[in-house]
Subunit: 183 residues, 2 copies
Amino acid sequence: MEQPALLVVDVQKGLDEPWLGKRNNPDAESNIALLLSEWRNRGLPVVHIQHCSKEPDSPLRPELPGNAFKAEARPLPKEKRFQKSVNSAFIGTGLAEYLHERRISSLVIVGMTTSHCVSATARTASDLGFSVTVISNATAAFECTGHDGVNYSAEDVHNINLVSLNGEFCTIRSTEEMLKRFA
Amino acid sequence: MEQPALLVVDVQKGLDEPWLGKRNNPDAESNIALLLSEWRNRGLPVVHIQHCSKEPDSPLRPELPGNAFKAEARPLPKEKRFQKSVNSAFIGTGLAEYLHERRISSLVIVGMTTSHCVSATARTASDLGFSVTVISNATAAFECTGHDGVNYSAEDVHNINLVSLNGEFCTIRSTEEMLKRFA
């Protein structure tokens, strides 16, 4: 098995704001912590992505406490971080060049949210030629209301975003399946 | 209202292959034809994207009849075309540079499929700073089966991909709503 980098996307305190609505998969953060621990124990590369929003209402603006990493995903000093202000971690960051320079061609993506930054990042990664795995239960989504006025549950948004990536942009695996591949 | 370009993504014959499964919104092509007609009548910019797959099993490989544009979306000789082999029309094509040179900052996206190339293209367009509208009933999706073995209907895949774009990456409008804005 190639040695993939773990890409940890937007695991930040501001995404706990109640007005964001109902979220699925409360275990996402603990699964991310498990995967981070495995990557660190094996000395594999870890890259952290931090959303620094320019939107007036975002809890992820750089000057707000919500911009901080959650405890489960706090970077070690030696681990690489990129900051972004859009959804895909590849746009405006130099992430692709960083990975190419280190001959990293395989990425395992975790973080928030399934439908926005995780999906956008996985799609760009695949289109740029990286081999991508997204960990189904190490990401999560929020409920949302469509242009049609219909409310879609967080679980449906999560599942259908994963199925839309599966096969076309990436492989979907659970945390347990991923850890077994190292065993 | 700014004068947006109509970006017509992958309206190609190969997507009628029965093995692709059940599709929603059989009216997508006729709505695309309506919008193309309006854009042409008003002399607004139209850009066509043609998928030229490198995948062995794809009906959109350049040497196959399925690579051809459908009648409803056939480019006029004077209209710009870009060919791509990945999902986002912005990766590897020079599309962003083409639009910037012409000072086009607003895009209306139609075509196939909601969950793959339309979503990927809308996401990249927004992340690159374009103002984006996706036309809900001028795109369509296929049913798909997830990593979890669950089958998701084409309509659910379509709707949840649109709601995942809405507000974050673009505005969603119907063909009728879009045409009314010109009236």
